[in-house]
């Protein structure tokens, strides 16, 4: 049985973050304690004291989730074509894309491909938080759609690790359209009887939550992840009321009935495998 992991992490804070010193030690945002960096890394990037789940990039996520060296990436080189020719504040979207590609090492904010989880074949999509905060533009929508189409045609389960700030405003209505596109392709996959398991990680907000993240057969979240539609800052500014403790965390969503379970990072593999076995026809 999967245990519901409890975290002491209280949710998003509007207070300015304390600076994290570089080097061997880092400050855990959950318990505000200094923890040894390598002890966190050995613990699947989870704080050994308070179970705070650190954000991890797509490569690490695939390493933790899929069986070793089984991930075969599809369309790794699909890059954004900058549909709006977007410029802002003396900088260009194109330059930002290049800079983030260098920083994150992937060409866009999602990686898709076939993989195995504990020997069960799946189609896996993993979002990359280091690339423009995992935001969804044309390429993310397209790659997600291709992944679902692949899962449909090969009758495989589909697992998507969501980690995104929402729709990418640099691509305007094009990125808004991807919400409709990904939902439409999921409708087809659903009709074909496919199993779709979204895994929501910190953060999943905006257009991604309002489309494919919430459309799963069984929705899993990591403990303490920020999950919501409007960002906490937007809400605080709009309604001018202090946000309650733990607002928009995974626990909050579970409480209000929008996700199925909260699973600790170390149990994700076994839980996904178990679900796949249960849903086999």
């Amino acid at each position: 049985m999967a245990k519901t992991a409890k975290s002491k992490w209280n949710g998003f804070s509007l207070k300015p973050r304390k600076d994290v010193p570089e080097g061997l030690w880092l400050r855990c945002p959950g318990c505000e304690q200094m923890v040894y960096k390598s002890s966190v890394e050995q613990n699947l990037n989870v704080c050994p004291r308070c179970d705070y789940h650190f954000r991890i990039n797509a490569k690490t996520r695939i390493k933790y989730l899929a069986d070793e060296d089984t991930f075969e990436e599809i369309l790794p080189d699909l890059r954004s074509h900058d549909p709006l020719d977007f410029r802002y504040n003396d900088s260009e979207y194109k330059d930002r894309l290049k800079a983030d590609e260098k920083k994150s090492g992937s060409a866009e904010a999602i990686k898709i491909g076939k993989a195995f989880i504990k020997g069960r074949q799946i189609v896996l999509a993993v979002m990359e938080p280091e690339f423009l905060m995992g935001s969804m533009g044309y390429v993310v929508g397209e790659k997600f759609t291709v992944a679902v189409e692949l899962a449909t045609s090969e009758a495989l389960p589909f697992v998507a690790v969501c980690c995104s700030g929402g729709a990418r405003m640099h691509e305007g209505v094009v990125s808004l359209g991807q919400m409709a596109k990904t939902s439409a392709v999921l409708a087809r996959y659903d009709k074909a009887g496919g199993l779709y398991i979204p895994i929501l990680t910190d953060p999943t907000t905006g257009g991604v939550t309002a489309s494919f993240a919430m459309l799963g057969d069984c929705i899993i979240a990591e403990p303490g992840a920020l999950i919501g539609f409007a960002g906490p800052r937007t809400i605080a500014e709009t309604i001018k009321v202090e946000l309650p403790d733990g607002f928009q965390t995974s626990e909050f969503l579970l409480e209000h009935g929008f996700i199925d379970m909260i699973i600790h990072r170390k149990d994700l593999r076994s839980e996904v495998a178990r679900l796949i076995d249960y849903c086999k026809k």
């Binding site: 405003m169 409709a180 409708a187 539609f229």
Partner: protein, 361 residues
């Protein structure tokens, strides 16, 4: 006509970039006052002024910047959903409630007919007076609004009634309760279900098309926009606050977001633009609504002729192609021709080979 218009538009209703138009209106007003007080005939002067005003309006509205378009779309006198319901929809009966939590006043649903076509109307209600505006939450719907919209759409689908949605919202409501009741989930479900709903769906952006809140009732067979409406992934102010780190740069952000009907049509993201009368919809509500009605009737007839299976197939293909780069679009169009040419070349090669084989033997 312009006289009645002058009476309608109070001094505060002019947008900042309409200074000259306001001046002319003031002059005309003074002249009419003078002529009635002193009995002098100024009709020739007034006529000349009116002519100049029309020229001015034409000039201003043919070169609106993106930010000016946003201001026109938010004009306080712009026709709202209720004007459409009054002037365009016959026999409208509103249906309430999402059967789950409550009745969201920011979202309207109901049965009526446009021309002779029976339809289900879904739309955002912004409200006219301050009291109404507060009751309708300024057109920002909560999750129960989206769930109501979906429930009524299902009802329409059961009895094969086409759906027309009127989009006019700054965005879905960002609030604590909205999050508690699953704003994101409500919108996501609408996106999924609208993509497979077996009746024609026409979506019309009549004012503001604000992000997910607009898309939540904006997936269908045709997406049209009024000429000076806008449709965007984020409000220009929000975009400026994030990317420019200064909310007052909204004009630049609006420009960069390509949120006008003209730009979106060029990018292939919307299907048609419904023209507005000279000087924007708020200057002539009747003509605006007439244009929308004509569009709706024409499109409804067109879509009703298509069988359900084809309709859904075409809708899916339309959604599947959203945002596709032009190069891919072209290659898809030219692919069959390329294949034909390739095949022709191959057969030619075979023929020559076989003929050469014959000659060698």
């Amino acid at each position: 006509m312009s006289n009645t218009k002058n009476n309608n538009t109070a001094a505060g209703d002019y947008l900042a970039f309409e200074g000259d138009v306001a001046d002319i209106d003031r002059q005309i007003n003074e002249l009419t006052k003078l002529s009635s007080a002193k009995g002098i005939d100024y009709s020739a002067e007034i006529y000349a002024l009116q002519k100049e005003q029309v020229a001015q309006l034409k000039q201003i509205y043919s070169n609106l910047s993106a930010w000016q378009t946003v201001q026109v779309a938010r004009h306080p006198k712009r026709p709202l959903l209720d004007d459409y319901l009054n002037l365009m929809v016959n026999d409208f009966h509103e249906l309430h409630g999402d059967r789950c939590f409550g009745n969201d006043r920011a979202m309207v649903a109901g049965l009526g007919s446009i021309g002779t076509e029976k339809v289900m109307i879904i739309g955002h209600r912004k409200g006219k007076s301050t009291k109404e505006k507060i009751a309708c939450n300024f057109g920002c719907a909560n999750p129960e609004g989206y769930r109501k919209a979906f429930a009524k759409m299902q009802f329409a689908a059961k009895y094969n009634i086409p759906i027309v949605t009127f989009i006019d919202t700054p965005g879905a409501h960002p609030g604590i309760e909205a999050e508690q009741r699953g704003q994101a989930q409500a919108i996501a479900v609408n996106l999924l279900e609208m993509s497979i709903l077996p009746v024609p769906i026409i979506c019309i952006v009549i004012g503001e098309g604000g992000s997910g809140g607009a898309l939540g009732i904006g997936v269908g067979d045709r997406l049209a926009m009024l000429e000076f409406a806008y449709y965007s992934v984020i409000s220009p102010e929000g975009c400026a606050a994030i990317l420019w780190r200064d909310g007052s740069q909204a004009a630049q952000a609006a420009d960069a977001l390509k949120l006008t009907s003209k730009d979106l049509l060029k990018l292939g993201l919307i299907d048609s633009v419904i023209p507005e009368p000279l000087g924007g919809a708020h200057r002539n509500i009747h003509d605006t609504i007439d244009n929308v009605e004509k569009f709706a009737v024409r499109t409804l007839r067109e879509l009703k002729r298509i069988g359900t299976e084809n309709l859904l197939k075409m809708r899916y293909e339309k959604l599947r192609r959203l945002g596709e780069p032009i190069a891919v679009k072209l290659s898809r169009k030219t692919a069959p021709a390329k294949r034909r040419i390739k095949a022709a070349i191959e057969t030619m090669g075979k023929k020559t080979k076989s003929s050469s084989a014959k000659t060698s033997t």
